[in-house]
């Protein structure tokens, strides 16, 4: 079905022109600079920073430089190292921090952070440790 814009009037032409000229949205996703000395990855709009230390693994989450409330998520950490998988729950630890105390991140491991929000939407972020 073809619509003749001239017959439909000036408003139609204006709408069509506006649609044609709408620029591609350029969204800023915030800084990719680590804020806690860890590894940083983006997953969709969410920036995830993974910090491994002798005390365990911490994860910080933010969007467009704004911290996300850790308490709004359930999260898990899955590490694959030398063909072996290990998993731990990441618990909210204030502000935008989730922690897995005592979890040992191996060198050269693949670590997947799974974040599930209250709606059930899940995002994965994959890290390769050095």
């Amino acid at each position: 079905m073809k619509l003749d814009l001239m017959k439909l009037g000036p408003a139609a032409i204006a709408v069509a022109a506006a649609l044609a000229l709408t620029p591609t949205a350029a969204f800023a996703h915030g800084s990719m600079k680590p804020q806690h000395g860890g590894l940083v990855q983006m997953s969709g709009e969410t920036m995830v920073e993974l910090v491994a230390s002798p005390k365990g693994v911490d994860v910080y989450i933010s969007e467009e430089d704004e911290p996300l409330p850790a308490s709004a998520y359930t999260a898990t950490l899955t590490q694959t190292a030398s063909g072996q998988k290990s998993q731990a729950a990441l618990k909210p630890a204030g502000s935008n921090k989730l922690s897995a105390p005592g979890f040992k991140a191996a060198k050269g491991a693949k670590i997947v952070v799974a974040l599930v929000d209250k709606s059930g939407a899940k995002v994965f972020t994959t890290f390769q440790t050095k």
Binding site: L3, L8, A11, V15, F27, K122, F124
Partner: protein, 247 residues
């Protein structure tokens, strides 16, 4: 104020088109919705009610980059079904048995076989398949169990720029099939004059979008039950995203 009139004309036109679309023209594919991978049922821009059709989904399977299975399911999230996997997936696939459909001379479709609609001018069994690649494969895309028709990139290194050619092969019952229709953009150009696969089962399409590409393969095979249908129509999508420039 002309806008309401324009909208009314547009809506009425869309409704007419939707009514005129034969049932078999609909397919399933995967696309991103609100960061999740959603299962879409429709044709063109018609994103129809996939949730109510979930009982028709026979399998949904996920795979990692090495094609090892990943536990995967569909979760209803409001009006759309979304993929839920235990780990990141490199590919997800689904099979839908859309059942038996008979068309009577008055133009109506009935969800029954010819045995129950003896006046039918056409009776068919519709199967719909979907394969979605979330990243460029590092090895050949395998044929997935139960996918009677599957469209596979001949070279797993899918070109990353729109406008570039891409060669695919259609497999029917695990073998290359000639004469299958390959549509290059099921979402944005559902009425395109599509190419057909050659003797080796291959066809070359032009990648249309620097974004979501939904290729659709269509093949009409012999009846699986001659008392009920004239033929079986298989409709199989292969979807993937070409990345945009860094922001």
């Amino acid at each position: 104020m002309k806008l309401p009139r324009i909208l009314a004309v547009t809506v009425a036109g869309s409704a007419l088109l939707a009514l005129a679309t034969p049932l078999s023209a609909h397919g399933i594919w995967f696309a991103q919705r609100a960061t999740q991978i959603a299962l879409i049922y429709g044709v063109g821009a018609d994103d129809l009610d996939a949730v109510k059709r979930l009982p028709l989904i026979k399998t949904v399977t996920g795979y990692d980059a090495d094609w090892a299975p990943v536990t995967t399911s569909l979760r209803t999230a409001g009006p759309i079904p979304v993929v839920d996997s235990e780990e990141p997936i490199a590919a997800v696939a689904a099979i839908m048995d859309y059942g038996l459909w008979s068309k009577t001379p008055d133009g109506k479709w009935h969800n029954k076989g010819r045995d129950e609609v003896p006046t039918a001018s056409l009776a068919e069994h519709n199967w719909k398949y979907a394969v979605h690649l979330t990243k460029v494969p590092t090895s050949p895309v395998p044929l997935f169990e139960g996918h009677k028709l599957q469209i596979v990139p001949v070279d797993p290194a899918i070109p990353q720029k729109m406008g570039e050619p891409m060669k695919v092969r259609a497999y029917y019952e695990g073998k290359p099939i000639a004469g299958a229709t390959i549509m290059s953009d099921y979402v944005n150009d559902p009425d395109e004059v599509a190419v057909k696969t050659g003797a080796d089962g291959t066809a070359t399409i032009t990648l249309r979008n620097q974004g979501l590409n939904v290729l659709m393969g269509i093949y009409v095979g012999p009846a699986d039950d001659k008392a009920k249908v004239d033929h079986v129509e298989y409709r199989s999508s292969l979807s993937f995203v070409l990345p945009h420039l860094p922001e």
